[in-house]
């Protein structure tokens, strides 16, 4: 009852295993799923979108197509699902998105088998910087090397 899972992608990259897991997990705990695609883009020093308008439109078209294909797989399983696209500073966009929504119980990273870079310093991936301040656990999925098979 009232569980929400966020399946988060970056840069139009979908990791199929993460999508499969999100679907199975949602069915197990009877949760609603929100797909969020974050596309990093810098608007520094600009007050209007201006020359980036065409780029943004193209991103919207591509991501719309990508997400709708993904949405279908959830709908087919009878899972309530919705999607969103955020373009801008990824960390900020994610925090703003989380602040506007009812709390999520789990966030699944959907663009790879692990967080892109867990290194130190300013070169770290934005997700590694915000992972400590997320409202709920962040899950990453990878394929087992030697699956348990009977």
């Amino acid at each position: 009852m009232f569980h929400n899972i966020l399946l988060m992608f970056e840069n139009e990259e979908l990791f199929p295993e993460a999508v499969v897991y999100a679907r199975q997990f949602a069915m197990r705990i009877d949760a609603k799923v929100t797909l969020l695609m974050i596309v990093p883009m810098s608007f520094m020093g600009r007050t209007v979108i201006g020359p980036k308008r065409d780029t943004i439109r193209n991103i919207e078209l591509r991501v719309g197509k990508l997400l709708s294909g993904c949405l279908q797989t959830f709908i087919q399983e009878g899972i309530e699902v919705n999607s969103a696209l955020k373009i801008g500073d990824p960390a900020q966009e994610l925090m703003k998105f989380l602040a506007d929504r009812p709390p999520f119980q789990s966030i699944i990273w959907g663009s790879g088998h692990d967080l892109p870079d867990k290194g130190r310093g300013t070169q770290r991936h934005w997700m590694s910087k915000v992972v400590g301040s997320l409202e709920c656990p962040l899950l990453t999925i990878s394929k087992k090397e030697n699956p348990w098979k009977k």
Binding site: M1, Q24, R28, Q105, G132, I141, P147
Partner: protein, 448 residues
């Protein structure tokens, strides 16, 4: 006990037809053409099953179902309509309806669905170890686990159960907060009183107001009779407020005032009515952060959080997984009439290595599936979900530790040394490597 069924439909013919079918089967039936009256009756006398029309003039069937489910989650609801559509059916079942019956229906369809719904309710009652929602508990709920964390929880429950203090249970979704609330109620002096559960995140502000405080006749359109709220209905017992962190701010103000005064005024009423309930609340969100952020009222937080019980997630008590798994397995065997005796070593190892972000609820679901597909008398790896077998999960969590500030650390250390030296300041200053005047200033600053 004869199952009690409430039927609601604005068409007298359907009502008569349903009543005749069900009474022939030996059920105790109450029929209503007005949903408000039916709701009133259900609140006073909980029923086993509700059969309701979807489209009615004063309240639609989905709304009625939400209200019934908020108060009596175990009561099954069958919705009937002449305007059946796939969307409506999906919506209704997602909201918690047992089945969506399309008009015209045959007596056999009704009989079968009713039998199935009542059987499901019976299973739910068995599964919750005799504790019936909305009704009086007969057996104390069992908290399974041998880990230190869960033993600590059980010990706190035993200590605070008999007291009358308000308790806040915090823990991730699916970790068993309601079970703990029921255990607190069962060990309290109020055990013979009612245990009422209410989900604050499920309803709108107006509905929460109405459900908690009740209303007087004529308070709003459709309020044809007086209705008592949960705070009154739980008199002498315990009121469990689930997801209290999601309660709207204006309702927090009202609830706080009511809890302080020990009196409430029904919606549309003017006379204060005193009540006597113990509040046990639960939340999966970080209420402390919500208090600091101004989203949750500090005064209400202190009022309801006299004692805090923090429930560990299943990943924090992995040693309990085998015990829990076998407990759930025996329940599922009883429910489904199966005789699965064991879980293979490999399957158990796989379960134990999984992170269970969905906690005990997820374990229950995984085992339910395994029991359904299992063909022998042992659950094997192949009976578990494929994603558990093929995928690996990594969980990143916010660190639990509360880090001390330098000031707190300094205060703590000075207090510690003062204790060691028996309060001799010269000796303490010497150990700290500062002069007596500096020590005196710091002691004054920290109130030592």
């Amino acid at each position: 006990m004869t199952p009690h069924i409430v039927i609601i439909d604005d068409e007298p013919i359907t009502l008569k037809q349903l009543r005749r079918i069900l009474e022939k089967e030996g059920y105790q039936v109450a029929a209503f053409s007005n949903p408000q009256r039916a709701l009133q009756q259900i609140k006073q006398k909980p029923c086993h099953l509700v059969i309701s029309d979807v489209r009615m003039p004063t309240m639609d069937g989905l709304d009625l179902m939400t209200r019934v489910k908020a108060r009596f989650p175990d009561t099954e609801v069958i919705l009937i309509t002449g305007y059946a559509s796939l969307d409506g059916a999906v919506e209704a079942t997602k909201e918690g309806a047992f089945y969506y019956l399309e008009k015209p229906f045959t007596p056999d369809q009704v009989r079968n669905r009713v039998k199935q719904a009542l059987k499901l309710r019976q299973i739910k009652e068995d599964a919750s170890d005799g504790s019936a929602s909305g009704a009086r508990d007969t057996q104390p709920p069992v908290i399974i686990g041998k880990s230190n964390k869960i033993r600590e929880v059980v010990s706190i429950i035993q200590q605070i159960g008999p007291t009358d203090c308000n308790v806040m249970i915090t823990g991730d979704s699916g970790s068993g907060k309601e079970l703990v609330a029921r255990a607190i109620h069962a060990t309290s002096k109020r055990a013979k009183g009612p245990f009422m559960a209410f989900n604050c995140g499920a309803l709108s502000e107006t509905l929460i107001d109405n459900e908690l405080f009740g209303h007087e006749k004529g308070a709003f359109t459709g309020a044809e009779s007086r209705s008592i709220g949960l705070l009154e209905a739980a008199g002498g017992g315990t009121l469990f407020l689930d997801e209290i962190g999601e309660m709207p701010h204006s309702m927090q103000v009202k609830l706080l005032r009511v809890l302080q005064e020990g009196e409430l005024i029904r919606v549309g009423g003017s006379r204060p009515i005193s009540f006597d309930v113990r509040i046990v609340s639960a939340t999966a969100v970080d209420v402390k952060a919500a208090v600091n952020g101004g989203v949750f009222r500090k005064d209400l937080y202190f009022r309801v959080n006299v004692v805090n019980i923090e429930l560990p997630g299943l990943s924090d008590r992995k040693e309990d997984i085998p015990l829990l798994a076998y407990h759930i397995l025996s329940r599922l065997n009883r429910r489904g009439g199966k005789e699965i005796k064991a879980i293979s070593q490999k399957a158990m190892a796989l379960l134990s290595s999984y992170a269970f972000p969905g906690n005990v609820r997820e374990l229950e679901n995984i085992l339910e599936r395994a029991v359904a597909v299992c063909q022998g008398d042992e659950i094997r790896v192949c009976d578990l979900p494929p994603d558990l077998i093929e995928l690996e999960l990594q969980v990143y969590k916010r660190p639990d530790e509360q880090f001390m500030t330098l000031t707190e650390l300094e205060q703590d250390y000075i207090a510690h040394l003062l204790k060691i030296t028996g309060g001799v300041r010269t000796k303490t200053a010497e150990l700290l490597g500062i002069d007596r005047a500096s020590l005196w200033r710091k002691m004054k600053k920290y109130g030592l």
